[in-house]
Amino acid sequence: PSDEEVVTPYSAAEIERILDKKFADGNYSRTGADQCLRCHDASGEHNAMGIFHNVHGSRKLPGGPFQGLQCEACHGPGGDHTKPRLRPGEQREPMISFGSQAPVPADKQNSVCLSCHQDKLDHAWLGSAHQQAEVPCASCHAVHQARDPMHSADSQITSCGGCHQTQHALSKLPSNHMLQSGQLQCSDCHAAHGSANQAALKHPTTNDNCYSCHAEKRGPLLWEHQPVTEDCSTCHNPHGSINTALLTKRPPQLCQSCHSALGHPSVPYGTNDPVAPSALFVSGSSCVNCHSQVHGSNHPSGKSLQR
């Protein structure tokens, strides 16, 4: 456009005000999606055709968007947005857009999604960590893509890792939980839409989550190891670690955070230190060399977790 025709973008507040009015007026288009897709087809700047490759674009989905208001079921009434021609300098009337960069507050964006998703999800969302952090649904979910990134293990870790960068980095360390290879995904343990449990875990406790794949640790065992019965994360970092077996720290120091070093020296071989040296205690897997049944033992001689 020439200098005289420079279009001043709407401010976020103006967009919100216009959208509030549009949603209240309910001025829907006359031809539905056909009107929208004249511009938003594959050759357009904002290609929307990907929706037809997933369930949201299906006309078979009972109660789905395309059995009703089609595009406007989510984007709201078209109103003047569908005007064929604009005057010089005129800005096209905004429609609601979704995502972390969208000008409309997350709660307003999400209210559109929650209009239909009124099941457990709806009841869990309010008060969840992601709702409190004002995360728009569209930050994670891509309604206009053939495959929602959250439904694929390899793309889910990338999406979640965009915000949870520390956990994402941990998942790439040599001792990891196979998140990068897609054998496990974030949603195997966490309920991203909200959970009454700590850290939005799917099962009531950390241990209950771990038992889903490590049920052998559930016991009960004749000789229990107390911290194991309480919280696996006392010793393990489930997202990844530089130490073997996802250990938060290395033995013997890890074990000595509770256990006395008396009689079990932690100084390596080859010294004259009075508490030294026995390779048995510190080399290799250290304490676990002998106390290999560190998660508990069912052997009648397993009191010291050696059997």
Binding site: G26, D34, K60, Q70, C74, G76, I96, S111, C116, D119, K120, H123, L126, G127, Q132, E134, Q165, T166, H168, A169, K172, L173, M178, A196, Q198, S212, A215, R218, G219, W223, E224, T229, E230, D231, I242, N243, K249, Q256, C258, S260, A261, L262, S266, V267, G270, D273, V275, A276, A279, L280, S283, G284, S292, N298, H299, P300, S301, K303, S304, R307
Partner: protein, 682 residues
């Protein structure tokens, strides 16, 4: 306030959609699908240097695998069947079928989790019983002889076969939805553990052959009540663990120093069963939401006991029982209330209570230590705990661009049974989110937490013996600062930064962990180069420090140690994705992962540092070869070096034997070609 753009309220009667044709919408009826074949070749330049060799992928191998997918859409139903990686170690098959009110799905996947294609042991192969030593290894007391003798290669891997089958069915309007999910995981392959007899320790490969079965049945319903709506449900969850390997026996590879102690025996994990029922509900009325759940479960096992020892020269007492009728009861209570007062304020409170009650029998046992020493009778300990948490949270939007959040939380942890202890933890978290402009935002989070040990001590042990302190209940002061910045530099280029500082102070503790610190710094960049090309970069560095003190007499510290860990993760990638469904796709990604772990005990004879350096470069090109055909070329280059202390076997009397390190140093190439044919759509 919660339903700003609630479209379900739109009155469709006022909107005439009868003439909406949607000529752009594709015709869904019919089927569509593809079949694909993939040829890959792995060139492994393994160059391990120590006693252990660890190659994650098999040396110089090629294989062919197949993928397929068919999707059928009928008038009121859809069905999709897909298979991926058939012919490979990691493969999956899935079925998904849906029709109004009913959904059925089935997934089978097989994954190889770990593959030590060159691991060595003094044992030839994993056996269920009595791992037999090669003759050259039996009763070796000479260090040099053991070190010089050849070790035996063991093919070590773990495979998990997983099946998930589920069905859900809505009984009808106003009636509940029932769902049933069955999940089975079968693990097979080889794992490693250590066996010890008196002063001798040896690394043992063993066969894993076990199964986990889970069944989840739920009935849930949403309803309208008053001016609000609710959701109630009940769930029954059952889990069963079956282990086909109940014990493991091995021979002592070194000189026997106690008469008869030639063989050791480990008890493998016993079978167990767990069942839990849960009732839950939620009610939303306007801007209020109430949520509650209660669940109660019990875990049981009753496997037969092994003998105290296999040492026939020792006369042991009779076992008090032939098996262990173990039973643990758990209960979990959750309550929460959230209230969105207006657009400025939201408050929430959460209450959680978790209980564990070990109701297993107690009896006196007379263990045989290290298969050679009779020990005086000891009664098994039962550990119970009860954890109560309360969180109060308030959010205040001061203005459109500024939001504050205050969270107070309290936790009471009580141990009972044979381990008495109690600690209270209180914390206050403050968060400040600011949108400085349409392009720049920040989030600051400050946490101060104090844990106060109320009581502690292990009743079953005399003071100053095995336990010096209760680390997880110990007094601790934690301070943490989190910072995140997001900057949309241009409409197509964005930068993010995150930083973390956490400091744990365990004063007044003088033994055990006294100090811990963690710092992390990360950067990320994403660039939409064009409408079809994107680039991204991420870098994360973390440092952590752990200080602890030990004592030779369990009172005043006589030595200090520390662990310093550091890691760097860096990745950069470029991706082109065509706007057309049948266009060209290509990408390249480089990733670097470095880790360092240093243990310092301030005396000569330091621990070996552990480290790993990994580089990978991954590329792909996917393009339409001809109508209905696509070709995909993939390459992967990996370079990996690491050192990790490890041992094969130790006889502590005659000093160190066959100590080793997993010392990897390898590079590998993987080349793949995939050809896909799209089935003609109907």
């Amino acid at each position: 306030a919660y339903g700003d753009y609630n479209l379900s309220a739109a009155n469709l009667d006022q909107v005439d959609t009868s003439k909406w044709r949607c000529r752009y919408c594709p015709d869904e009826d019919g089927y569509q699908g593809y079949v694909a074949a993939r040829l890959e070749y792995n060139k492994d330049g393994d160059d391990a240097t120590a006693h252990y060799q660890n190659a994650v992928l098999k040396n110089d191998s090629g294989l062919v695998s197949f993928d397929a997918q068919v999707k059928v859409i009928e008038e009121t139903a859809h069905t999709q069947i897909s298979a991926e990686g058939l012919g490979k170690e990691n493969a999956s098959v899935a079925l998904d079928h849906g029709r109004p009110g009913t959904h059925v799905d089935f997934d089978y996947s097989r994954s190889t989790q770990f593959d030590l294609e060159g691991a060595k042991s003094i044992y030839a192969s994993p056996q269920e019983e009595a791992l037999t030593l090669p003759s050259a290894w039996a009763r070796q007391s000479d260090t040099a002889a053991m070190s010089l003798s050849p070790l035996t290669y063991v093919h070590s891997y773990q495979q998990r076969d997983s099946v998930i089958a589920g069905v859900s069915h809505a009984l009808g309007e106003g009636l509940p939805t029932l769902s049933l999910t069955l999940r089975q995981q079968q693990r097979s392959g080889t794992d490693w553990t250590y066996g010890s007899i008196l002063n001798d320790v040896v690394a043992l490969p063993y066969e894993r052959d076990d199964r986990i079965r889970e069944l989840t049945v739920t009935a849930e319903q949403t309803f309208l009540a008053g001016e609000g709506r609710g959701h109630i449900g009940a769930e029954l969850f059952g889990s069963e663990y079956e282990n086909d390997r109940q014990s493991m026996i091995w021979q002592n590879p070194f000189t026997i120093t106690l008469a008869g102690s030639e063989e050791g025996q480990l008890a493998r994990e016993p079978d167990n069963r767990y069942k839990r029922w849960q009732v839950y509900g939620a009610y939303t009325h306007g801007a209020h939401r109430l949520r509650a759940s209660y669940s109660r479960g019990s875990a049981k096992q009753q496997d037969a006991f092994l003998p105290y020892t296999r040492n026939t020269l020792l006369t042991t007492a009779a076992l008090p029982e032939t098996d262990y009728a173990g039973k643990v009861v758990t209960a979990h209570t959750r309550l929460s209330w959230a209230y969105r007062i207006n657009r400025q304020w939201q408050v929430e409170s959460r209450f959680r209570k978790d209980q564990r009650d070990n109701q297993s029998p107690k009896a006196s046992y007379e263990p045989v230590l290290t298969d050679g020493i009779l020990q005086s009778p000891v009664v098994n300990s039962l550990y119970n705990h009860e954890k109560t948490q309360l969180e109060l949270d308030a959010q205040w939007r001061w203005r459109a661009a500024t939001r504050f959040e205050y969270t107070y939380y309290f936790e009471n942890m009580q141990r009972s049974g044979d381990a008495q202890g109690e600690a209270d933890t209180q914390g206050l978290r403050f968060q400040w989110r600011e949108k400085w402009s349409g392009h720049f935002n920040s989030r600051v989070s400050i946490l101060a937490e104090e844990r106060d040990k109320k009581r502690g001590g292990i009743e079953s042990f005399t003071a100053g013996n095995a336990f010096a302190r209760e680390f997880t209940l110990a007094d601790r002061l934690r301070n943490q600062l989190d910072l995140k910045l997001g900057w949309q530099v241009t409409p197509t280029f964005a930068l993010t930064t995150n930083a973390l500082h956490r400091d744990d102070d365990y004063r007044p503790a003088v033994l055990g962990v006294t100090k811990a610190r963690e710092d992390a710094l990360g950067y990320g960049a994403s660039w939409e180069v064009s409408r079809t090309m994107t680039a991204d970069m991420a870098m994360q560095r973390s440092w952590s420090l752990w200080r602890m003190a030990g004592s030779t007499s369990n009172n005043l510290p006589t030595w200090q140690s520390s662990q310093k860990d550091q890691y760097d993760v860096f990745s950069i990638g470029l991706r082109h994705q065509s706007r057309e469904a049948e266009g060209i796709e290509l990408g390249i990604r480089y990733a670097l992962v470095n880790t360092r772990g240093e243990t310092d005990v301030s005396v000569p004879g330091e621990y070996h540092d552990r480290y790993s350096d990994g580089h990978t470069v991954q590329t792909y090109l996917d393009y339409p070869w001809r109508p209905a055909w696509r070709l995909r070329f993939e390459t992967l280059y990996a370079r990996f070096r690491s050192r990790d202390p490890m041992l094969v076997g130790i006889d502590a009397v005659s000093d160190l034997l066959s100590n080793a390190a997993i010392d990897e140093n390898y590079s590998e190439w993987l080349f793949g070609v995939r050809v896909q044919y799209r089935l003609a759509e109907r």
